[in-house]
Amino acid sequence: MFEPDEELIGRVVRQLRRPVTVDAGLDARVMEQIGRLPARRTGGPVRATWRWIIRPRTIRLSPLGALAIAAVFVAVVLWRPDRPSRPASARAFGFVVVAPRAATVSLVGDFNDWDAARTPMQRTRKDESVWTAVIPLTPGRYRYAFLVDGVAWLADPAAPAARDDEFGAPSSVVTVGGS
């Protein structure tokens, strides 16, 4: 085990701390060498300001301060107040209903504000009792129904019934998943 000898080290340190003098001509040699260098360009306040701007600096920061700055940075990066919401990719979605005696059938739902004029359904060529409509839907949950001859509401027999029917008429629900 090494036994530190503080007295011995203290003696060494005291001795090494004594002043040391060097050649008195050192100052003159330094100034002579400096005098041979090209004159320092000063450039006035503009140059001084530029030097101040480009001068690298050491910034001392506590961990808490660094965390706060990082949080602000993330918030600024993520915050886009005027950025329009990017529409999610829409997929074509087909609706089919059998209504042999109908003259007109419309598809109405959350996706077209329950407006009967916006999505009229078409008879299929093979079977005139079958009505179809294909509309683009973005991922989400939609309630819908078929409006037959402008008066009769018909839920989709092939789809789950919507529980939150606020209109008192039968309706179905479809959920479109994201891709």
Binding site: V12, P19, D23
Partner: protein, 185 residues
């Protein structure tokens, strides 16, 4: 820090030099010469190399004075330049084979202590210091002779605090071992 700033005097001198007043630099040279010379002489072991490193450090500092972020810390900044110059000069001297030649002229440059203080013999201390590796010698001098904090030493040397603590500890142990062996001879 061991090389303390001299407050507004340094700030003013640095400002004048940057403004084109070359003579103002003489004030800074005179102010820091002897303090830096002590480190250079102990680090390099002879006055010739120490003066070369010192002169080089002063000239380099003048040429890059714009990089001195804070005039009030000119002394510490200059010290960092000297530490690097001593490393370079020491490495060059080692290549020449003059790793640490005890120099009577350097000893003559040391202010004479009182008779009581001189009894242990300065030559032995210098000889022991010379037997340390440059890294250990540098760390020991910065910590114990120049009285720097470890964080300041880390800034000057580029080494980590824990590495510097280890170097100082090993330097103390080796110095103690060398000096005790010398006492027994």
């Amino acid at each position: 820090m061991g090389i303390h700033s001299v407050g507004t005097s340094d700030v003013e001198a640095v400002r004048r030099v940057l403004g084109g007043d070359t003579d103002a630099y003489a004030t800074l040279v005179a102010r820091y010469r002897d303090r830096l010379a002590r480190y250079a002489v102990h680090m390099l072991g002879n006055r010739e190399d120490a003066e070369e490193a010192l002169q080089d450090a002063f000239v380099r500092a003048y040429r890059s004075l714009e990089r001195c972020d804070d005039g009030a810390r000119f002394g510490a900044w200059l010290y960092g330049i000297l530490v690097n110059r001593c490393r370079t000069t020491g490495a060059r001297a080692a290549k020449r084979g003059r790793v640490f030649v005890r120099d009577e002229a350097a000893l003559n440059g040391v202010a004479h202590p009182s008779a009581a203080e001189q009894t242990e013999g300065e030559d032995v201390v210098r000889w022991a210091l010379a037997r340390l590796t440059p890294e250990y010698r540098e760390a020991f001098l910065l910590k114990h002779v120049e009285d720097l904090e470890y964080e300041e030493m880390a800034q000057l040397t580029g080494a980590g605090v824990s590495a510097l603590k280890m170097r100082v500890k090993r330097a103390r142990e080796q110095l103690q071992t060398i000096l005790r062996e010398a006492e027994r001879v």
